[in-house]
Subunit: 129 residues, 3 copies
Amino acid sequence: MPLLRVDVYEGRSDEQLKAVLDALHRAMLAAFGVPARDRYQIVHEHSPSRMIMEDTGLDIPRTASFVFVQVTTRPRSREMKETFYRLAVEELEKSCGIAPSDVMIDMVTCSDEDWSFGLGRAQFLTGEL
Amino acid sequence: MPLLRVDVYEGRSDEQLKAVLDALHRAMLAAFGVPARDRYQIVHEHSPSRMIMEDTGLDIPRTASFVFVQVTTRPRSREMKETFYRLAVEELEKSCGIAPSDVMIDMVTCSDEDWSFGLGRAQFLTGEL
Amino acid sequence: MPLLRVDVYEGRSDEQLKAVLDALHRAMLAAFGVPARDRYQIVHEHSPSRMIMEDTGLDIPRTASFVFVQVTTRPRSREMKETFYRLAVEELEKSCGIAPSDVMIDMVTCSDEDWSFGLGRAQFLTGEL
């Protein structure tokens, strides 16, 4: 937790994709202050016809490098979220050459009782986390 | 925003799939009153064994044309949601010949601070949207 | 409703995957007390480089048998959620030989007005459910 679903277009190598995931994890560590091994990332790759990402009229150009990140997390402050948006873009640009206009993020909030990390237990409730 | 994840069975052509996405976008424009370019759609295609969609005992038959739509959106009124359910079914039947019994929809709500459309900014907070 | 997205690594046969889904459905029936045909399950299969699942430092080992379940549901009590975590693990171990350490679950909550099971109607609002 948080869980990141990362939707991208097909065409990245394993190495390029790893760089994307590493960059997002660095941004998450810094923005949310989670433990190093609090890393849960799932990638979905799509052909161009299977992912349509426009811009709500904001004049934000999209390219084949586009990355959409959907984060499911327990409650986070507005400041932490804004920090993640900023750092994710910075890290992806620096490490992967992805333009800031090619990064879109959405957050969905759930609560402490909504997570079981394994063993059939809700670790935020048992005191393990 | 909203984001639509559209889960379907394998077998539609690019053209047929485009018709599905266009129909859903028309329903969204009319029901939520979003800008024309507020279009964010991701398709996941599945073999029959990878998507099991029953009916909670409602006697709603499902076929290979089944479409599941999961919408993530900031808060919308009950009326807007019900309008979307109705219009999505109408548009999909009219444009794609999909039976109303083959359309299932679920909505997940997040807030204004949960969206960054690009550039590392939360455009609902900055006043850009 | 609930909807389950089940993320696994590639490599399971149709039969093995069916056993996983059946086990999760038995856990759901028992934990949430839903009708028998309240079954909505979508599987996403990933290569190892496309799904990174660590452990937040909890010393929970992960293997190629790992199963992540993301449940979208209307509100459920803490007790029902904890029961599902426990039963899902038990059922998956008993029926599929999956270790309890290889099962991670997350829940996302939505409300009655957020579901249309077909026909363009919100069945929790119309009184059909």
